[in-house]
């Protein structure tokens, strides 16, 4: 069984909610990313999303964009991230989702990427600029099994598209909780629960909610409505500030543990 499916099945059986963490692979470098992943797993993160850097991350806000720039400057490439995952699998079995844009994957070879990433030990992939409409229309965008294809649903997604997306969704659905790019916000978007109810009516696939969540109170509020909570930019911001310092793990733990606890207390 795929680690993602196993993870959410386990959470559901225990009546618990999941904590999903996003970080940019290679920021500030891959050895530090290893330390970060292991720390996040120790904190109780259920799934970790690894951003594969792209030069033009249109759907990301400034925090993730700068992280991608740092990762690229450090020489991070898709093949290096795959090799990194392979090594990481010696140390942790936390479910890993690759979070990226189409062009690096396309250049690597779409089918080869899915095969190699699965072989390396990745469990899922979320390609931000590949909507479910396009894959069937482009012969070269077909891939075998192995990686769960995580799909996005937005506040603006109409019900007809919710149906299309949920039919294709695997692993979990990533619900973008507000209109805009990635990034922490002081207040959460309103209207999350209405759209979540529509998605829940259409599918039994687990739903994780992300974009703009940065405090335990926000995490707890969202966890009540969904199967999982994604925190990304707030963690990336912390790595931006302390990524090269020796106390990074302690700082990460101090920030992430309360978020995980808030989600697990629901």
């Amino acid at each position: 069984m795929n680690r993602i499916d196993e993870c959410f099945a386990g959470l559901r059986a225990a009546g618990k909610k999941g904590f999903v963490a996003y970080i940019a692979a290679g920021d500030p470098d891959l050895p530090t990313t290893r330390e970060i992943v292991l720390t996040l797993a120790r904190c109780g993160a259920d799934v970790i999303e690894l951003g594969v850097p792209f030069s033009d991350p249109q759907a990301d806000g400034i925090v993730n964009q700068m992280a991608a720039e740092r990762a690229l400057k450090a020489g991070t490439t898709l093949p290096k991230v795959l090799a990194f995952i392979k090594e990481l699998r010696q140390e942790t079995q936390v479910p890993l989702v690759l979070f990226t844009y189409l062009n690096p994957v396309y250049t690597y070879g779409f089918e080869a990427f899915h095969r190699d990433a699965a072989a390396a030990g990745a469990d899922g992939v979320l390609i931000l600029d590949l909507p479910p409409d396009e894959a069937p229309l482009n012969d070269e965008l077909t891939a075998g099994d192995g990686l769960k294809r995580i799909r996005l649903i937005a506040p603006t997604t109409p019900e007809s598209r919710i149906k299309l997306i949920t039919e294709q969704a695997e692993g979990f659905i990533y619900y973008v909780s507000r209109e805009g790019v990635t990034g922490a916000q002081s207040s959460l978007a309103t209207g999350i629960s209405d759209q979540l109810q529509k998605i829940q009516a259409a599918t039994s696939t687990p739903i994780a909610v992300g974009f703009g969540i940065s405090t335990p109170i926000q995490a707890s509020t969202v966890a009540r409505m969904a199967d999982g909570v994604v925190v990304g930019s707030a963690i990336v911001k912390l790595i931006e500030q302390h990524g090269t310092q020796s106390d990074l793990s302690d700082r990460l733990t101090a920030f992430v543990k309360p978020l995980v606890d808030a989600v697990k207390a629901v």
Binding site: F54, L78, T107, P131, D133, N138, A154, T157, V176
Partner: protein, 397 residues
């Protein structure tokens, strides 16, 4: 072309985050309705005549033809349009659409500033709030247009990410649109991006070729042998080419920015050293490295300084229906000076790439052959840049 999903053969499509899909689908549906609405067409035509200044002349460049000593050269004078470039054909069409959609805020990206000026102009006329994203580097080399946009009431937002030119401005405009999609329309300025933009922008510029075709038939009683236009995203080129696609005897050449020569990161000629990929909504030919990271580009002209080419051009290239070549910075600057001195027309540096190609091929063609070059914009905005390159002088205004 394209099909219902915006595919031109294997190119084009809608490669965008889910956040934008609903807006693009709404735009596609509304555009289809508008296209078939005689009232929309009539309003646009009236404005193109009374406000934009269509039709533009097709001018026989007699002295330039004589100097080059070969084919007869006609210039399609898009530089004579209000705001000084072809860009306003599309901006005017899209703002009428935005009003139909009930949007109250307009955003756009701009490279050379011509599309920004055109958008700020139509937004001022429509009384809509307008924000223009422009790379910091482009703002410095196109100061005149920045000032024009501000006088027109637009907010010009400098973009400092990456190499701070057109590609980064598109990223920022897209981010704004993702965030404000409910009340904002994004007037994308070239035949690029996700469907319906490449089709819609082409359709709004198609008038260039329709007029040129009628004008040359009136003047010469036959079709031209060759069309030449510069290609950044490719809007002026597709606007000129499209009406001639079924005229098999008419050749067409798109001229990309050769920059300092075909050296990685020193040019913007996607059909030279480019590869297939996906950027900013479309699958097409683009300049990327072996890891799929988009490469730096360079051109003396901000409007051609872009890493990807419009998907319909990629299709026409594959079909062999149009040819694509490039002109270097030096060749474009030479054509800029030549047309200015001999015909009294200062062309935009973008258009100068098309003119540079005409200077190469006209002398090799018989005198009874006919070339139409699209002078897509006027060069006032470029005099400071040209002075720096040609005379090594920094002009102070």
């Amino acid at each position: 072309m394209p099909d219902a999903h915006g595919h031109f053969g294997p190119y084009g499509g809608m490669f965008v985050p889910e956040t934008l899909m609903a807006a693009l689908q709404e735009l596609t549906a509304e555009y289809e309705k508008a296209k078939n609405d005689p009232a929309f067409r009539a309003e646009l035509d009236q404005l193109l005549t009374d406000y934009v200044g269509r039709p533009t002349p097709l001018y026989f460049a007699k002295r330039w033809t004589e100097q080059l000593g070969g084919a007869k050269i006609y210039l399609k004078r898009e530089d004579l349009l209000h705001t000084g470039a072809h860009k306003i054909n599309n901006a005017m069409g899209q703002i009428l659409l935005a009003q139909r959609l009930g949007k109250t805020r307009i955003i756009a990206e701009t490279g050379a500033g011509q599309h920004g000026v055109a958008t700020a102009t139509v937004a001022a006329r429509a009384g809509l709030k307008c924000v223009i994203y422009m790379g910091q580097v482009d703002m410095e080399r196109q100061m005149l247009n920045v000032a024009r946009m501000r006088f027109l009431g637009a907010e010009v937002v400098p973009v400092t990410a990456g190499q701070a030119t057109l590609k980064e401005a598109v990223n920022e405009a897209m981010r704004d649109w993702v965030t404000n999609v409910r009340d904002t329309h994004y007037i994308l300025g070239t035949a690029y991006g996700a469907h319906p933009y490449p089709m819609m922008v082409r359709d709004f510029h198609r008038v260039i070729g329709l007029e040129a075709r009628r004008q040359i038939l009136e003047r010469e009683e036959r079709l031209p042998d060759l069309l030449i236009a510069c290609v950044g995203g490719g809007s002026n080129a597709i606007g000129l080419f499209h009406a001639f696609l079924d005229d098999k005897e008419v050749g067409m050449v798109g001229v990309e920015a050769g920059g300092e020569g075909i050296i990685p990161e020193r040019h913007a000629a996607r059909f030279q050293g480019g590869r297939l990929g996906v950027l900013q909504g479309a699958k097409t030919w683009l300049l990327a490295n072996e890891d799929g990271q988009i490469q730096l580009t360079h051109s003396v002209s901000a409007g051609l300084d872009y890493a990807a080419v419009g998907p319909e051009h990629a299709y026409l290239h594959d079909q062999g229906r149009a040819e694509y070549t490039y002109a270097t910075d030096d060749e474009a600057l030479n054509a800029f000076q030549s047309l200015s001195k001999i015909e009294g027309i200062i062309p935009a540096l973008e258009s100068s790439h098309a003119l540079a190609h005409a200077m190469k091929v006209a002398p090799q063609m018989d005198k009874d052959k006919i070339i139409i070059v699209n002078v897509s914009g006027r060069g006032d905005k470029d005099v400071a840049q040209a002075a720096r390159f040609v005379w090594g002088e920094t002009l102070k205004f």
